[in-house]
């Protein structure tokens, strides 16, 4: 399955991926109205160190502890291997936040459910927006 990967040596730590993620999942068609004066809550997060920067989002683990731990049966692995969240079933207990070893699942804006990267398959974007707009091609979408 194709996943999103970051090439550390190319990542500038510019955080644009976070803004494009938030925009793609905002449901809005205009980036300004989607993001202006908004504290963004993206599904991809950049970590910045002294010598290195990288972005982290869901790794779509083959043996996903979040799915096994979900108390509501709201997380599942689809036939392609992508980990999906059913927000209708999610009650926002945050057990998945407690167990994700990558810290890649987070509360959504209203705090009543979680959100995670679903590879822009559900927001109408089609292909991952963070990948499409990384200015340095540091984020790629490929099989490994």
């Amino acid at each position: 399955m194709k996943k999103i990967y970051v090439n550390e040596e190319w990542c500038l730590g510019c955080h644009l991926c976070e803004y494009y993620c938030a925009f793609a999942n905002s449901g809005k068609s205009n980036m300004v109205s989607a993001l202006k004066d908004v504290k963004i809550n993206p599904r991809i997060q950049v970590e910045e160190g002294k010598d290195v920067c990288f972005a982290v989002n869901c790794r779509h683990c083959p043996d996903p502890i979040c799915v096994k731990s979900c108390i509501a049966g709201a997380l599942s692995k689809n036939p392609e291997g992508m980990i999906e969240i059913n927000t209708d079933k999610c009650v926002g207990c945050f057990t998945c936040v407690l167990v994700c070893p990558f810290g890649a699942i987070m509360p959504n804006d209203d705090g009543h459910a979680i959100q995670k990267c679903e590879l822009c398959t559900k927001n109408g974007n089609g292909t991952p927006n963070c990948v499409a707009h990384c200015p340095n091609n540091a984020i790629v979408y490929e099989e490994r």
């Binding site: 090439n7 550390e8 290195v52 108390i71 049966g73 079933k89 207990c93 936040v97 167990v99 810290g103």
Partner: protein, 410 residues
């Protein structure tokens, strides 16, 4: 191969999915006392406050049994296990034979002997869908509710019904709330938060006697109530295992393959004792994620595959009125503390390992800490000064380790 599963909650579902990873063909018979499609027990409080409904709280989809080719006998109770004949007998008089058996009977609410309890007309426990619906039906906007027990079940019940009733009083013998997951400071913060929402607590006290709708406490206080909820704790449902001669302490003793003392019989979930890797002790960890992982491990092994359940730790994520707690592991060791009176964070280290934590408030990325406990990551191999302030992968300072985790090309 013939598999029989007793139970229909997380351990049982994990077992079905574990078996089917390894053996798509063998026959699976699942027998459970409750008549319902598999549902998430911890969601019953969310059901009562309207954040879910009976359809959405199903733990797996409607076609789960069909998709996994499971013969589900719901509303049927197993009355006996005969390990010599490898059969189980049900209350309908049927005998079902097995090659491999899973016991996932869960736990039952514990009701301590309390004087005058028989005189209370409306009394409930809060463990199952039916118990939640029975409680709900008894509530009115004028109800004064007395909950005995300030643990996870009692307080989730309080949150679930608070908007439906006039008042809630919670009584507990302990001097603080949620002692199974919080330390004293954390308990104090959460108690104040819950009190702000209108729940009253009477701690370090217990009911001496009931007389209809009046409870006299040992301190001499009186609490008048219309509805009583008993939530003092649960006991593992081990009767079948005991009668079958299996090794049972407080829970059914299981090994890291989730097998019992009988090699053809496995057990998972609240009814078992399993290894807590933070202390090296076998204990009951009645938690849904653990139940699923035990069940899955058992299922794989029952089907001839190889799996180990060897990273078990106590862990809990729960919120009350918008304040979230995540906790994991055990709290014996050196402490790192951050608190501002409303949020709280405590990390506990011992022998160069992270052993446990409690975080209230900002729970983001806490799973990175949980992973350190489960994987027993030596803290001298990471930048602990960095990670203790905020959980992050940058702390895995070794490029190869971080790159391995993220599958980054070198």
């Amino acid at each position: 191969m013939k598999y029989v599963i007793i139970g229909n909650s997380a351990g049982a579902v994990g077992c079905v999915e574990g078996i089917r990873k390894t053996d798509p063909e063998g026959s699976i018979t699942l027998i459970a006392s409750e008549p319902h499609h598999t549902y998430s027990r911890p969601l019953i409080s969310y059901l009562l406050c309207g954040l879910t409904d009976e359809e959405r709280m199903k733990y797996r989809g409607n076609s789960f049994y069909e998709d996994n080719n499971v013969d589900a006998r719901l509303g049927v109770t197993v009355t006996k296990i005969d390990p010599a004949a490898k059969t189980v007998t049900t209350d309908s008089g049927e005998t079902v034979s097995y090659d491999k058996l899973l016991i996932a009977t869960g736990s039952n609410p514990f009701i301590p002997p309390m004087a005058g309890l028989d005189s209370v007309e409306k009394k409930f426990t809060f463990m199952t869908l039916d118990s939640a619906k029975a409680l709900d039906a008894a509530l009115t906007p004028d109800s004064r509710v007395l909950i005995v027990g300030a643990g996870l079940i009692g307080l989730k019940c309080a949150e679930g019904i608070l908007d439906k009733v006039k008042e809630i009083t919670v009584v507990d013998l302990a001097d603080r709330i949620l002692p199974s997951i919080l330390d004293k400071d954390g308990s104090d913060i959460m108690q104040k938060h819950i009190e702000k929402h209108g729940v009253k607590f009477i701690l370090s006290d217990s009911v001496k006697e009931f007389d209809g709708g009046a409870a006299t406490l040992n301190s001499g206080k009186n609490v008048d109530f219309d509805v009583l909820v008993i939530a003092v704790g649960v006991r593992p449902a081990t009767a079948l295992a005991k009668e079958a001669g299996l090794n049972v302490n407080r829970g059914i003793v299981t090994d890291t393959k989730c097998a019992t003392s009988d090699p053809s019989i496995y057990a998972a979930g609240d009814c078992t004792e399993s290894l807590d890797i933070t202390t090296g002790e076998n204990k009951i960890m009645a938690l849904l994620p653990n139940a699923y992982m035990q069940g899955e491990c058992a299922g794989i092994n029952m089907a001839g595959g190889e799996a180990l359940y060897d990273k078990g730790i106590p862990m809990n994520a729960i919120g009350f009125f918008g304040l979230h707690i995540v906790s994991a592991g055990t709290y014996d060791g050196d402490e790192y503390l951050e608190t501002d009176g409303e949020s709280y964070k405590k990390l506990v280290t011992k022998d160069g390992l992270l052993k446990g934590f409690i975080i209230m408030g900002d729970v983001r990325r806490a799973g990175i800490y949980t992973s350190l406990i489960r994987e027993k990551t030596p803290l001298d191999t990471i930048d602990f000064e960095l990670i203790k302030r905020s959980p992050q992968l940058m702390a895995f300072a070794s490029d190869s380790e971080r790159r391995g985790k993220l599958k980054i090309k070198a």
